[in-house]
Each structure stands twice: as C-alpha cells, then as structure tokens.
C-alpha cells in the first residue's frame, strides 16, 4: 500500500492537449473516484498512472518513487478493465495466477495465492471454468480476483461496472466498497456515473475537459459545489438552474426569469442587480404559501418519492417530494426553495458566489 501523487500532469496527443495540468494527492489506503463526462480525460489519466500511456509533462509518484519512466510491470499496480480483459483461453484459476506465473512463482505458491483471492471473492467453485462460461458479474469478480492475487500497491478500476445490468451494478458497487474496507489498498476508480462516485468514494475528483473542477468528499461536493458544472454533475435528478439578478438592497433575494421572486438567505456584498445563476436541488423545494407560482407539467411517482416537473417563471424545474401530494398536470402550486440550501453561481465564470 502506498500513497499516490499526481503533480501538474499534462497529456497531449500530437498538438491536442487533453489534460491541462492535473494535480491530485491520494493518501495511502484512500478510495478515490475520478468522475466526469466522457472525453474529460479521466481514463487517460488512469492509463498514465498504469503506465499504458506516456506522461507528456508533470510527475506521477507511487509511494516515494516517481514512476514517469518506470515500466508498467515494475509499478506494482493492478488494473480492472471495463471489458474485464480476461484471457479467454485460460481458466479462472489460470487467469488469476497468470501474473504470478510470469513472475516465476512456484506452482504451490500460485495455487495458494489464487485460492486466497478466490475465497475473498467467493470464486472457489468457478476456478476450473473458462471466462465464456461465466455471467457478467462473475467475470467482473474474476477480473478483481486477478488484481487481488498480485497484492499490489494500488488498484486501478476503469469503469468496471458499466457492462453490467442495473441491479448487478448496485450489488457489485457494494462488493467493491466492502473489498476496499477489508483490504485497505489505495484505489483509483474511474467512472462517468456520479452515483457510483457518491456511494463509493472517500474522495471524489470531478474532471471536465482535461482539468479538475473540484476535489472533496462526496457530501462536500454535494453541499457546496465549487462551480455550476460540479453542481449540475453531482446529484440526481440534477440541480435546477434559474438565470436572473441578485437583489441585495433591503431583504436579500433573487429575481428569476420573468420576474419570479426567489428567496436568498444572504446576498454577496455589493451585488445588487448582478446577473447570476440560482441553483436549487429538486429535494430542496417545499410547497408553501409564500412560494413562487408554478404550473405542473408531468408527475412521476417512483414509490419512495415523487418527481414533479413544473414551469416556474416559464422555465422547467424538477422538484422531488417524499410526501405524497395529490398533483395532476395543469395544477398550480407554490414552490419555495429552502433559502439556506440554495446555491448562487456567477453567470459567466460559473464560480460559486455564496458561502
């Protein structure tokens, strides 16, 4: 186990720079999730960490050692690929023991290592099967088993759950997290699914267009997103954004689209009339007499909660209620955001304006 330091790393393919100076400190034993939309450079960064891509500039160190020029096999890392990359002509046991075999380990040593990993992942009855004879979830576990056998300094996961169906994905999510709690190996996990990031990570790194937008614990990112991108990316259904102007003279407030009045706890200093973006999460709406009038468009009950799509000042917003209101399309309701939980972003830079 080791810490990992990524310092001002850049990556160019020809003249095209895909990573513009990324720095991420990863502590020993930490579970870090790199999350972002496709094309943000998260997988490239992971592959650079693994040694499958060259580092254009900056340094990556594992433990105390800078690994920029260290061969992948010398880095003591193990990677789980999106398509699992199991060797189709080898049994589960051979797949898991391959790295030990290449290292020249004795047959007994290999079989002990494989058995230990198989027990951890409940793969023992499958050891003689070929990858084709396994289900998606079993293949996923074999891929993890192959990583565990090596007992590496760092685990790398490249979107490992995206080929599984929704139910299995949830189960494997828990399994990976539990595995990490048991083995306490430093883990870097790449995903585009913010739910995976939120549920698994000790630390989330939100990436976008080759830069780090924000780094922090899941709840930090959820409660105080540093900018509009992170605010919109983390959370489902996504945060509602309403454009308008800040009112700071007298009672603080916000004038939304078509003059809709929205509450604000405190306005930033000297911000009267400043154009801004008002962000409110769907679950932070309540029905109140002093709320803004909205017309309901669609009601989607999911059982545990109800998602309501409504027009607020002409803009569509989503609200989520755990109580069971009797709404139908066309109804007029008064929606009130919780003033202590709203977010305010600069209209041009997208930076967070309130504390």
């Amino acid at each position: 186990m080791s810490s990992v330091q990524i310092r001002d790393v850049r990556k160019s393919f020809g003249n095209f720079e895909v990573l513009h100076g990324v720095s991420i400190p990863i502590e020993d034993g930490e579970f870090v999730v790199l999350v972002g939309p496709s094309g943000c450079g998260k997988s490239t960064l992971l592959r650079m960490l693994a040694g499958l891509e060259n580092i254009t500039s900056g340094t990556i160190s594992i433990g105390d050692r800078v690994v920029n020029n260290v061969q992948p096999k010398e880095r003591d890392i193990a990677m789980v690929f999106q398509n699992y990359a199991l060797y189709p002509h080898m049994t589960v046991a051979d797949n898991m023991g391959f790295s030990l075999k290449l290292r020249g380990a004795k047959p007994e040593e290999i079989s002990t290592g494989v058995k230990r990993a198989a027990e951890i992942l409940a793969l023992t009855p499958l050891l003689d099967r070929y990858p084709r004879q396994l289900s998606g979830g079993q293949r996923q576990r074999v891929a993890m088993g192959r990583a565990i056998v090596r007992d590496p300094q760092v685990f790398l996961f490249d979107e490992p759950l995206s080929n599984l169906d929704a139910k299995l994905r949830v189960a494997m999510r828990t399994e990976i997290k539990e595995l990490h709690q048991r083995l306490k190996t430093t883990t870097v996990y790449v995903t585009h699914d913010q739910i995976e990031a939120m549920t698994m990570a000790d630390k989330i790194v939100v990436m976008h267009d080759g830069i780090v937008e924000q780094m922090g614990t899941p709840l930090e990112l959820y409660d105080t997103p540093a900018n509009q991108f992170v605010a919109g990316f983390i959370g489902s259904p996504a945060m509602n954004f309403l454009k308008g102007k800040v009112k700071s003279n007298g009672v603080a407030g916000f004038e939304g689209p078509n003059g809709v009045k929205l509450p604000l706890k405190t306005a930033p200093a000297n911000s009267e009339g400043q154009p801004a973006v008002y962000g409110v999460r769907p679950e932070h709406f309540t029905i109140a007499d002093d709320g803004a009038e909205a017309e309901i468009v669609v009601v989607e009950p999911t059982g545990s909660e109800t998602q309501v799509f409504a027009k607020l000042g002409g803009e569509q917003v989503v609200a989520v209620f755990r109580e069971r209101h009797q709404f139908s399309p066309g109804d007029k309701v008064r929606l009130k955001p919780d003033p202590s939980l709203v977010h305010l972003f600069d209209e041009t830079t997208g930076k967070r304006l309130n504390g």
Binding site: A85, L102, R132, R146
Partner: protein, 319 residues
C-alpha cells in the same frame, strides 16, 4: 398532439382459412430447401459427379478414344509396382511438408510484422498480396526464366559478383529443381497465410495485451501465452487449406519443370495428368489421382481431430 384526425374504420375483409399451400409457402424449411438447390446442383454437377466418375475410371482400362472395361484393382496393382509412382508420392509429401512449414513460418512472421503500427501500413499490407493475385502460370513462367539454365538472373548476378564462374543448372539438377519449385510455391503461398493470420491477429482484443503488460509479460511471453493460443483456431484452418492446395499443386510444376528432371519434381497431380491426358491412359491416370484421396482425407482428419474447437471457444454451457 391530439388534433390528428383518426381515419374512419373500414369494413375488414373476411378471414380466409389457411390452405395447406399457404402453410407450405410460409414453411421455413421448404423455403430453405429451395435456397439450397442451386448450390447443391453446382456441387453435385461439378464436384461430386466428376469425383465419382474419376474413381470409376480408375477401375477401368479406358484409353482416349476407347470405352474401357471394368478391370477391378488392376490399375492399382500396376501402380504398386511402379517406382515412378512411388517417387511422385515421395515428391508430393516432401513438397507439401517443406513448403507448408516454411509458408507457416514466414506467413506468421509477416502477419506479426504487419499487425504493428508502422508507416505505410495499408500499402505494405496490399503489397504482400501481390504474389497471390498474379496468375499462377504467369508467375511460374517468370520463375522459369529466373531459374533458366542460360539466362538465369541469379546465375548472371552471382557470376558478376565473382561468386561462381559457371551457370547453376537450376532446373536441370534434381536437388536444385526441387528447391526451385518449392521456393516458387512458398513465394506464391505466403500471402494467403500471412493475410489470413493477420485477420486472426486483429480479432485479439488490445486490452488483453494491456492486461498482460500490467501482469508483467514480456513481448515473447505475450506471444507465447496470449497471441499464439488465441490464434490456433485460425492457424488450423489456414494450414489445412495450405496443405490441401500444396498437395494438389499442378500449375507451378507443369509450367516450370513438367515433372523433370528425371521425374524429380513429378507430383501425383502432374504424373496423373501425364499418364491420363498426354499418354492417353485415362484409367491409370485416374487411379493416380484417386490415390491422392487418402492423403487428403488424412490431412483433413488431422486438423479435424487434432485441432478441434478448444473448450474455451465453446458456448456458454457449464459442462
């Protein structure tokens, strides 16, 4: 959205009971049979019938211009004591094994080379195919000149370099003649092996190599443990075809040596042609041709049983 007018309902036509002809029309097996008929017709007319006729001929004493009588195994008994026939069998086996083994080696090497990322990849791949697209007889004629006893460019070059002072009698010497025809066959056969193996290499997922890199495999270990095992099914198919084509080769030999010198390059196919068509002994020629069948069957059996689909290739059953 709801403004679209709904068309007024019309009276539906009465439902008719399906006749047996209707059912036949929709029967997939019946349809399948008719799709198969043209291919089946071609195969029977141009493959099965000539093969049957050839085997029948080998049991008769048919000559050109004379209808033969059934003579049983007499042709085969005759061949059993014929040293030239046995020489042709030896030549054919030698030709097939040496040429196929070298074609496999060079073909695999070329395929691995062409699978790498390098400049002008597409052009190089196309260039490799050239020997394959030149008509066999034309390339054989070219080799005939290259190996000519007087005008050989090889002899000429070596003489000018001062390495030899007399022309090499390429196609007049038994050993040289064998080397020359095998060389020509390899030159012609390598593209097929190389391109097919290249296609096989490209089906291997790059992520397997990445996984192997992280597992600590060297280039050789990757070939030995990943590439080669995953390529074996394709190798089996390619080499079966290559062996069959080489074993039955006729054009190259006939254009270059006609079986000479002193029958040193006579293959079973050329000997059969010489006896049946040139000498007019149709029955005896047919017997030589039929004698190839056991060898060909054996080659197919080897690939069928020895290189059968591996367990890992089978479907998702849990046996």
């Amino acid at each position: 959205m709801a403004d679209v007018a709904i068309a007024p309902r019309r009276a539906k036509t009465e439902i008719r009971e399906a006749t047996s002809w209707d059912q036949l029309k929709h029967n997939r097996n019946w349809l399948g049979f008719w799709f198969m008929v043209p291919a089946m017709g071609f195969l029977i007319l141009f493959l099965a019938y000539p093969l049957g006729l050839g085997i029948w001929l080998s049991f008769t004493d048919t000559k050109i211009g004379r209808v033969g009588q059934f003579i049983g195994y007499e042709n085969y008994e005759w061949l059993w004591d014929d040293a030239i026939f046995w020489l042709s069998v030896f030549n054919t086996l030698l030709y097939t094994f040496v040429a196929s083994a070298i074609k496999f080696g060079i073909g695999l090497y070329l395929a691995l080379l062409l699978n790498e990322n390098m400049p002008f990849k597409a052009m190089l791949r196309a260039a490799v195919l050239i020997p394959f697209i030149v008509p066999t007889v034309l390339s054989a004629l070219a080799f005939w000149w290259i190996f000519d006893s007087q005008f050989s460019i090889i002899s000429w070059s070596l003489k000018h370099l001062g390495i030899i002072n007399q022309n090499i009698n390429f196609l007049g010497d038994t050993t040289w003649a064998r080397i020359c025809v095998i060389f020509a066959n390899i030159w012609r056969g390598v593209p097929f092996v190389a391109i097919t193996l290249l296609a096989g290499l490209q089906t291997v997922s790059p992520s397997l190599y990445e996984a192997a890199t992280l597992d600590g495999a060297s280039r050789w270990q990757m070939f030995r443990h990943i590439t080669y095992p995953l390529l074996t099914p394709i190798i089996a198919v390619v080499m079966t075809f290559s062996v069959l084509f080489t074993f039955t080769d006729f054009q190259l030999i006939w254009a270059m040596t006609r079986g000479g010198p002193v029958n040193a390059t006579h293959l079973m196919a050329t000997l059969s042609y010489q006896r049946a068509i040139i000498a007019g002994q149709l029955g005896e020629g047919a017997a030589i041709a039929s004698a190839m069948i056991p060898f060909l069957l054996a080659a197919i059996m080897v690939s069928w049983f020895g290189l059968q689909r591996r367990k890992w290739q089978q479907g998702e059953n849990n046996d």
